[in-house]
């Protein structure tokens, strides 16, 4: 007769763990894996910084100016003979538009398009909530078990 509550508790625990196992893998994978913190940058003087920034911008523009993408696209799309617009006369010109040397005020979000706008705010707290909730649930269950053992 005394086994009934134990069985019920075990079933509840099993259900909670099963639900957690089903719900979380995709979300957890977006949380913990493969993030490597960038190395701390050494301090440099402003002249070197200016030169480096100018060079980096030039590099990024050059990198965007792709040429002879036809072979890439044909193989990727599996469409033989498709013509790819060249970097000189298509959207590449706008991709390589010089970036205005400005910082957008912190906390501002983009809700409509404008030239030089920051990217829309795609940050979401839901995965963090889920991880915190699971951790809280598991710790709570462990404490309850500890108390049950003491009793």
């Amino acid at each position: 007769m005394r086994r009934t509550p134990v069985t019920l508790r075990s079933a509840t625990t099993a259900m909670i763990f099963s639900a957690a196992a089903l719900l979380t893998p995709a979300v957890l994978s977006a949380q913990f894996t493969t993030f490597v913190a960038p190395p701390r940058q050494a301090a440099v003087d402003s002249a070197k910084t200016t030169v480096a920034v100018t060079k980096a911008r030039a590099d990024s523009v050059a990198r965007m100016s792709l040429t002879d993408m036809k072979a890439w696209v044909d193989s990727a799309a599996g469409v033989p003979g498709t013509k790819v617009a060249t970097a000189n006369d298509t959207a590449m010109a706008s991709v390589a538009t010089p970036v205005p040397d400005q910082r957008v005020e912190p906390g501002r979000t983009t809700t409509t398009f404008s030239n030089g706008a920051i990217a829309p705010n795609t940050a979401t707290p839901l995965p963090a909530y889920l991880v915190a909730g699971l951790a809280s649930l598991i710790v709570g269950m462990l404490l309850l078990r500890l108390r049950a053992r003491r009793a």
Partner: protein
């Protein structure tokens, strides 16, 4: 006496943690379920719109006058986005607010629609619809479909920038920009943004490029 108090504190703490955890999980699960429901609704609406567009095109061919394209309401489905490499097939929703991004990739209002001249900006969460966007490389293809046109794009730019760095610029030519948070695998609020730029593949646009998006200023 002390043991009794410790027992009460342990019980209270455990119960509190249990309730807080369950509440958080229920909240997140609820948001995801609502998002999935809205995504399903958007897909149905999109299919209805696509059918209406096909009828309108047929009427155009038969020289029957049709009504002009109306402005796009926030939350309405505006396009279908497919990226074969990451097996993504989603309906793009107008707007980039919390509710829109919870339901699907969002089209930034004021930007061009995919296939129209100008910069078409589509954003989504890194933990949801764009969870594999980091796997895309230069040369990968993207397919878009709107009520007016459909065709393929090739990725020509991939940048990681700070979240407060200007990232979106006007374009005289058709351009597709996909954005999400970066790093994709990160705990907490991601500090950067991943920006992918794509340009149309000539010859894949059967309906032709348009000059202006509906509702675009």
């Amino acid at each position: 006496m002390i043991r009794g108090r410790a027992d009460i504190a342990l019980r209270f703490g455990a119960a509190s943690l249990f309730i807080i955890g369950a509440t958080l999980i229920a909240f997140v699960a609820g948001r995801y379920l609502v998002g999935q429901y809205r995504a399903d609704v958007a897909r149905r609406q999109w299919e209805e719109r696509r059918a209406q567009a096909l009828v309108a095109q047929a009427r155009d061919r038969a020289n029957v006058p049709t009504t002009s394209v109306e402005a796009i309401a926030t939350g309405a489905p505006v396009a279908r986005l497919r990226i074969p490499r990451i097996r993504l097939d989603e309906i793009v929703i107008e707007g980039v607010g919390d509710d829109e991004l919870n339901a699907g990739p969002g089209h930034l209002p004021g930007s061009a629609l995919p296939g129209m001249r100008g910069n078409a900006v589509i954003s989504a969460h890194r933990d949801r619809h764009f969870s594999h966007l980091d796997r895309l490389q230069l040369g990968d293809t993207i397919r878009t479909e709107t009520a007016q046109s459909s065709g393929a794009w090739v990725i020509v730019g991939r940048r990681v920038i700070g979240r407060e760095t200007p990232a979106l610029f006007q374009s005289k030519e058709p351009l597709l920009t996909l954005t999400t948070c970066w790093p994709v695998r990160y705990f907490g609020s991601a500090p950067d943004r991943l920006i992918l730029s794509a340009k149309p593949i000539a010859g894949t646009w059967a309906d032709g490029m348009r000059t202006r998006s509906p509702g675009q200023t």
